[in-house]
């Protein structure tokens, strides 16, 4: 299990290769990459600053991956989240899940992202032509995370 919080960019190909290395039991690789959009709520976004809670962030991400491994029959996962100043087109977050079969890998990948969005202490601040503003949390993110509640026996 790899969890990293970093300012540097990441290489999805290299991360997938690292996760698969020496594991011939892997039959499925599911991944998600989140990137910075240039438009949010109708306004142009020129830069986005990502703040986090050092210490808690890593713990929260670890706990999410541990829960994914308990709930789905997956082999391993990598989560990388960037912090600091980002621009449109930049990558923000990477989730890679490897497993024997695609079903569990797809679901665990989506679960990790849904829980990350609602449980990992990151905050985005956007720079727009109207000035800077903190991004508000979306109720739809809470709903996405709640989908996974009470489905503990689906692995």
């Amino acid at each position: 299990m790899t969890v990293r919080v970093q300012t540097e960019d990441f290489d999805i190909g290299a991360e997938i290769m690292a996760l698969r290395k020496g594991r011939p039991d892997v039959g499925a690789v599911a991944s998600f990459v989140g990137v910075v959009r240039d438009l949010n709520q109708g306004d142009r976004v020129s830069t986005m600053a990502l703040e986090h809670y050092p210490g808690m962030t890593e713990k929260a991400l670890d706990a999410i991956v541990v829960e994914a491994k308990e709930r789905w029959d997956i082999i391993d996962a990598t989560v990388i989240h960037r912090i600091g100043d980002l621009r449109p087109l930049d990558q923000i977050v990477l989730v890679v899940v490897v497993g024997m079969h695609r079903g569990a890998a797809f679901e665990a990948c989506e679960f990790i992202m849904d829980y990350l969005k609602t449980r990992a202490p990151f905050w985005k601040k956007e720079q727009t032509p109207q000035g800077e503003r903190w991004v508000d949390a979306h109720e739809s993110d809470d709903q996405a995370a709640e989908r996974w509640a009470g489905e503990s026996d689906r692995a």
Binding site: I92, R119, D136
Partner: protein, 84 residues
Amino acid sequence: MVKLLFFARLREDLGTAGEDIHLPEHINTVDALRHYLMTRGEVWRDVLAPTKALRVSVNQEMAKPETAVREGDEVAFFPPVTGG
């Protein structure tokens, strides 16, 4: 001593990233601490008002209003998270 931390919009609105604080003995839950801090003045009352969506962690675990706060704990207040 209890270590207080504030993040994102709360840090900016309160003008502080955190502090170490001595708490009276009866301030022993997250909810009690929140109301105790609200007595510090108008800005604190507004930022920590019950109508504001905010999250609290104790020792880096998400907490509820009734979660206990003890000597030596690290308590953080922050807005709903927006990573990913």
